[in-house]
Amino acid sequence: MSLIEHRLPGAKSLERLRSQPLVWHLLLGVLAAAVLYLLTSSVSFYDNTIIAEIAWYAIAIAGLSVLTGGSGQISLGHGAFMAVGAYGAGLMMEHFRLPLVVPILVGIAAAALLGTVVGLPATRLRGPYLAGVTLALALAVQDLPTKFSSLFNGDSGIIVNQATPPGGVNPQRWLAWISLLAAILTMVVLANFMKSRFGRALKAVRDDDIAAQAAGLNPNRMRVLAFAVSAAAAGLAGGLEALWGGIVSPNSFSLFLSIQLLAGMVIGGAGTLIGAWWGALALVYVPQWTNSITSHLSSASTVTANLQNAVFGVLIIVIMMAAPSGIQGWLRAGYRRLRRRPSSLASALSPPLDLSSTSTPPERTSP
């Protein structure tokens, strides 16, 4: 029962610390920042670019995870929110000289606003119907830059002035820092949110609309809130991508991106924040690996060119079959098995996180 309390002499003060989320999180954040500083300075500049990319993918997937794992809504159009965040931030960076945080916040706000607007009709829609609407949204947002090309410069996109890092820091490393910092903050904020009464309410609404209402929750308000928070995370990811790529163009936000985000979320483990990182790693590294493997093959060029995507497709299928709750679910199950057999390894591992206590919502009764 009181395992933690008596495990270590300092456990009590640790426990006291943990009950103060702000202090505890700041402490963790500082620790994480130190680890990441060491990480970013020990790898190549190119790897820093990749780290930054992983970070913004993880932010977007985590946002989607809060929506799907939290409130049970499915979005096939999260690329649209990323696009709005990217254009919002990108336009600010293009036209004004502001501290970096301002355009990024503008991007987040723009995405959250769209999320709220979409969230309103979405409160009435379930499963595939919501998927259909968000899919249509992703298509529409992709075509708007050419419709209003005087503002968005059409297909060519707007060029973003990448901020010059202070003190001669390498730009790629600088971007990795910014993106990781943003990712850590996002994870903390989303974890707080999911742990708070709002997260609980979201899960209640996801699992049982009627029971939630009977318990005094307003399901529609919760769904809109989930959409807004989720879209805000995607908007942040979009703003970071704008900064990262130096350009905001509709081609970066194709329907394929939205589908990739969904796949990344489920591969990593829907509803878990750690899973978002696994998903992001998969989205970034699988094409890389296959690319480096295929470049050594000497078969016809159409085969090698397509092998990359083929492997990605196979990987998605295999993970879904072998680990239905995603990589994080699989790891968690493995951890539980370890813990059942008491071993020093198990106690050394920190307990895995749990956003949605069950990743499987009960089956909805079909009409």
Binding site: P21, N192, R197, S357
Partner: protein
């Protein structure tokens, strides 16, 4: 609004909290409730009984706002509940339990009860997002009240468990704790005794009587033993109409009620439940 409550001062006594007047509901061509009127007061346990299909659950759903009545009005403390939505009831001090258990599968027992405690919460989403101390304090407060409610029903030991892994009677108690945790003025209970053993039911009766000092209770129940033993007043529905109201003794003696239960003695029906 004020006018409405003045119209029937005689009916709504000083203690009257809930007042249902001439409520009619029909689904398609079928009349589920036909001009139903009754009232419930603070500190009173009111039972709603009737054969299957009499419209008992529909009556609850009308009060909660899940179903809109075609005619009639419902007042709460003299104010008409016009377009109330189910989730707003809790903030007015009315909570309910659902048929079966109605617990949320993805949440632990404690979390389920904490959801019920949320009308007590004061901090907003921003402080929750940032994990501010105020939010943490709030969280501790909700947790404490939820634990207290669980303890009151004797199920605090299961706080960390997920409902699906618990025995049915425990689940029912957790659901009850969720309805009581926010300290409502009125609780609606939909078949609280269904699926419980006789010792559990006795315990439940004890609890219901104990609640009188804190709130009004309105229960829909098949178990006549429980109803007769705990209710101060009983409303009998049949085919959507109120056919009798009164104390348990009055209702028991009413031939119309016996008639409604297919001519069988009330006790025989009860043992079926």
């Amino acid at each position: 609004m004020a006018q409405a409550s003045e119209q029937s001062p005689a009916v709504a006594g000083p203690n009257t909290s809930l007042e249902v007047e001439g409520v009619t509901v029909s689904f398609g061509g079928l009349t589920a409730l036909d001009n139903v009127s009754f009232r419930a007061s603070d500190g009173e346990v009111v039972g709603v009984i009737g054969p299957n299909g009499a419209g008992k659950t529909t009556l609850f759903n009308v009060i909660c706002g899940f179903v809109r009545p075609a005619a009639g009005r419902i007042s709460w403390r003299g104010r008409e509940l016009r377009h109330q939505r189910p989730h707003q009831l809790a903030h007015l001090g009315i909570t309910r339990t659902l048929q079966g258990v109605g617990l949320i599968a993805g949440l632990s027992a404690l979390e389920n009860v904490m959801v019920g405690a949320q009308p007590l919460a004061r901090t907003g989403s921003a402080s929750a997002l940032l994990g501010l101390p105020s939010s943490a304090k709030e969280e501790r407060r909700l947790r404490a009240s939820a634990l207290e409610a669980l303890a009151r029903l004797g199920v605090a030991a299961y706080a960390g468990e997920h409902p699906s892994s618990l025995p049915y009677p425990i689940q029912k108690k957790i659901a009850l704790a969720r309805a009581l945790v926010s300290g409502p003025a009125l609780t609606l209970m939909d078949e609280p005794a269904s699926g419980l053993s006789s010792s559990d039911i006795a315990e439940l009766g004890e609890l219901l009587r104990g609640l009188r000092s804190e709130m009004g209770v309105l229960i829909v129940e098949h178990n006549m033993d429980l109803v007769m033993a705990t209710c101060d007043r009983i409303v009998v529905l049949d085919f959507g109409r109120v056919i009798a109201t009164g104390t348990p003794a009055e209702v028991r003696a009413n031939p119309v009620v016996t008639e409604a239960y297919l001519g069988a003695p009330v006790e025989a029906e009860a043992s079926d439940a």
